[in-house]
């Protein structure tokens, strides 16, 4: 199979690391080989679906998830290598494309990478993939030697048969192993994690080297023959439409090829270079029909959120006991209000996508946390069937959730590229455009109230033992905030109440998931607020000095933030605590 691999530098990296960090003398020589991209990659044998082994014993481990600095690429490789029993020093990685995944009936599973789920969701099946490859390699050796496979041992990619003192390597048996039928994944017994030597252990990242010398090619760095560049400006007010465009100045500017309306909500200029495109875009005069959202202001959003906070109705949240009554009857009352603003994800690599569309094929190069979502966006926007589309993988210059489910930037880049059939067009958002037209984390405000007993403990005033806490939340949606006038159109659900359960974790999600286009973002503010309330309560109350050991405090929160680190915040907030 062909691979969209960009790991040629891996071996160079190894040579460099070995040479510079003195990690073992002879290794550098063994790996000193020029890799010629696809040619060298194809020289390997695919053993199962996750592992490709080359004659020189290099193990290329396939990666389906996106790498954006979080280290998933290395972590997944460790998991496969652990079961594979290969030589970790000879591991490289191969990125899979969504077109390959589609062609193989999603053999590599979900490619989406977000919410810290990349390892969690795939750790089981990638380990099974590594184990399957190991079993096939051992079987191939057993077949060759005509001995029972149970008599073989393997370590670091070297297979031994003690009785006959024979040994061979993965590289030698891989071609035969590749022809065997992989074992049923369910039948595979995985190692006990306590026996792990590679997985779960600190390891050097496999992808550092190219980040040190400028050789790593992010999507924004892509250069293709005949490529044009586009700069783009989104509607300054969310939901507004282009009313008129005066491109009389722009058309004559150097390098300019075309002014493109992107679905009446954005305007792009295509030029030979991006700097020319950006200058021309700045020279355009665009009139926008701003619509209702033009009336929305920071003050009106703040009013909305504050009003929501005061509302008394709940949204069907969990209700254990009567927190409000218990708090009203408590000896002392602690109250705190927290807020978070709209936040841009602000990836260092601004949004960009390169798209080339011909009559029967669409290709895209983009920083994406979900290659399959990008493929789907490419297909639907280009009008071509999925099977005629492909997305080329690039590691991201940051993701943070911006580039997973929301493929708006890819769709817009497709619209621009459609104007130039057969020509690759790279659309890059300027920093100011990227920042202003994010799918923002929502603005929110949250009020907690808790009752304390005569000993300043929060736990005794009412049932259940911990609590009572009244938590109310109001927020304004992130999607609506994509402009200088964040609109109220997407404003969310008013007051939130989570009585009688300290740090109740499940309730705030419900409304958000039902209505909010940016699910996932709520996690941050919820934890932030919950984490800040508890130390605040404790310091205020004084009786319970340590959160640890408080009955009913969820263990995962217990001690997560060192108490000492909370103190300055608590003091600064003192005035707001009732």
């Amino acid at each position: 199979m062909t691979s969209t691999l960009r790991d040629d530098s891996e071996i160079s990296r190894r040579r460099f690391i070995v040479g510079s960090a003195a990690a073992g003398g002879g290794l550098a020589l063994g790996l000193d080989m020029p890799l010629g991209g696809a040619q060298a990659q194809n020289a390997g044998s695919e053993v199962g679906i996750w592992v490709v082994i080359r004659p020189n014993n290099t193990c290329a481990i396939r990666i389906a998830r996106s790498e954006m600095g979080q280290g998933t690429l290395t972590g997944l490789a460790q998991l496969v290598a652990e079961e594979l029993e290969c030589d970790w020093r000879r591991v490289t990685t191969e990125g899979l494309s969504p077109g390959q995944n589609l062609a193989r009936k999603r053999a590599w599973g979900n490619m989406s990478t977000g919410g810290s789920q990349g390892i969690r969701q795939s750790q089981d099946y990638v380990r099974r993939g590594g184990a399957a490859a190991r079993m096939m390699l051992l079987q191939a050796a057993a077949n060759e030697w005509n001995v029972p496979v149970g008599e073989l041992t393997v370590a670091n990619g070297i297979i031994r048969h003690a009785a006959t003192r024979r040994q061979t390597t993965y590289g030698r048996v891989a071609p035969a192993a590749a022809k065997l039928t992989p074992p049923d994944p369910k039948s595979i017994k995985l190692k006990d994690p306590k026996d792990w030597k590679i997985a779960g252990k600190p390891a050097k990242r496999l992808d550092t080297w190219a980040k040190l010398n400028g050789s790593k090619v992010y999507s924004i760095d892509l250069r293709l023959p005949g490529m044009l560049n586009a700069a783009i400006k989104d509607a300054p007010v969310y939901g507004s439409k282009i009313s008129s465009v005066d491109d009389s100045k722009t058309a004559k500017m150097p390098g300019v090829r075309k002014v493109v309306r992107v679905k009446d909500t954005a305007i792009a200029v295509v030029a030979d270079t991006w700097w020319q495109a950006k200058n021309a875009l700045d020279a355009l005069t665009v009139t926008w029909d701003e619509g209702e959202n033009a009336k929305v202001s920071s003050a009106s959003i703040a009013r909305h959120v504050e009003t929501g906070l005061m509302a008394t109705e709940t949204n069907g949240d969990r209700r254990n006991g009567d927190a409000l009554a218990a708090i009203a009857g408590a000896k002392k009352k602690v109250e705190a209000t927290y807020s978070t603003p709209f936040l841009s994800h602000a990836c260092m690599e601004v949004n960009n996508a390169t798209v080339r569309i011909t009559a029967d094929r669409a290709e895209c190069w983009a920083p994406t946390q979900n290659l399959e979502a990008t493929l789907a966006a490419l297909a639907s926007e280009s009008g071509l069937p999925l099977a005629q589309c492909e997305v080329h993988r690039h590691d991201l210059g940051g993701g943070f959730g911006r580039r997973g489910g929301t493929q708006d930037y890819v769709r817009k880049a497709v619209v621009v590229a459609k104007e130039f059939p057969g020509v690759p067009v790279k659309t890059i958002w300027s920093r100011e455009e990227d920042q202003a037209h994010d799918y923002f984390r929502p603005i929110s405000m949250c009020k907690f109230a808790a009752g304390l007993d005569e000993n300043n403990n929060p736990g005794r005033a009412a049932r259940p033992r911990v609590g009572p806490v009244d938590q109310r939340l109001a927020q304004s949606g992130g999607d609506g905030g994509r402009s200088r006038h964040a609109p109220a159109a997407r404003v969310l659900g008013g007051a939130r109440q989570c009585p009688a359960r300290l740090l109740g974790a499940e309730s705030p999600d419900r409304v958000r998931d039902a209505q909010h286009p940016r699910s996932g973002r709520a996690l941050a503010w919820r934890q932030h607020k919950s984490e800040r309330l508890l130390p605040g309560m404790l310091h205020r109350g004084g009786g319970a000095r340590r959160r640890q050991g408080l009955a009913g405090v969820p263990p995962r929160l217990d001690g997560q933030v060192p108490e000492a680190s909370c103190r300055p915040q608590c003091r600064s907030r003192e005035g707001r605590l009732g």
Binding site: S20, T208, N213
Partner: protein, 162 residues
């Protein structure tokens, strides 16, 4: 039209004088290790050396660069990624997404040239580049390592061994 000396080579480029040096390096010269981050000299992703001084190339007009000025980009910092800063960056696995790291490395290399034994304060003052992943602790530790500072500064968890 401008003549630039980049990484020891003279390059003639056809480009308007007010084009930022960053975009000339990326688009006309084709060296993409120097990154676009903000365009207004705030983030430092575009840092290069001009005559040994670190410069944020997004905010320098190419017309203001003299043909005799020696421009060095990340690609020309060393042969085989062997600059002490690069080696320390590798040893401590400094980068996460890596996008800002060309600029970080160029800034750190310029710092070491001026102050071979920088203190924490020197590093904090010189290294104003933004890293969205937050690798600042490892950056500081790696600068100390490259400088040969023992016990220099506060070393974060990045100082792990594998």
């Amino acid at each position: 039209m401008a003549r630039l000396n980049i990484n020891g080579r003279n390059r003639d480029v056809q480009v308007a004088d007010d084009t930022p040096l960053l975009w000339v390096i990326r688009e006309q010269i084709g060296l993409t290790g120097t990154k676009y981050g903000c365009g207004v000299a705030q983030c430092g992703a575009c840092s290069v050396h001009i005559n040994g001084e670190v410069v944020r190339s997004c905010s320098m007009r190419v017309g203001d660069v003299r043909p005799t000025d020696r421009i060095v980009t990340i690609e020309g910092l060393s042969r085989n990624t062997s600059h002490p800063i690069q080696r320390a960056w590798a040893a401590l696995d400094v980068p996460q997404c890596g996008y800002c790291q060309s600029g970080q490395i160029m800034a750190a290399a310029a710092l070491l040239r001026k102050k071979p034994r920088p203190t924490d304060q020197d590093i904090d003052e010189a290294m104003t580049n933004i890293c969205r992943c937050g690798t600042y602790q490892r950056i500081r530790a790696a600068v100390h390592m490259a400088a040969g500072n023992r016990n220099g500064g506060s070393v974060g968890r990045g100082n792990r061994k594998s």
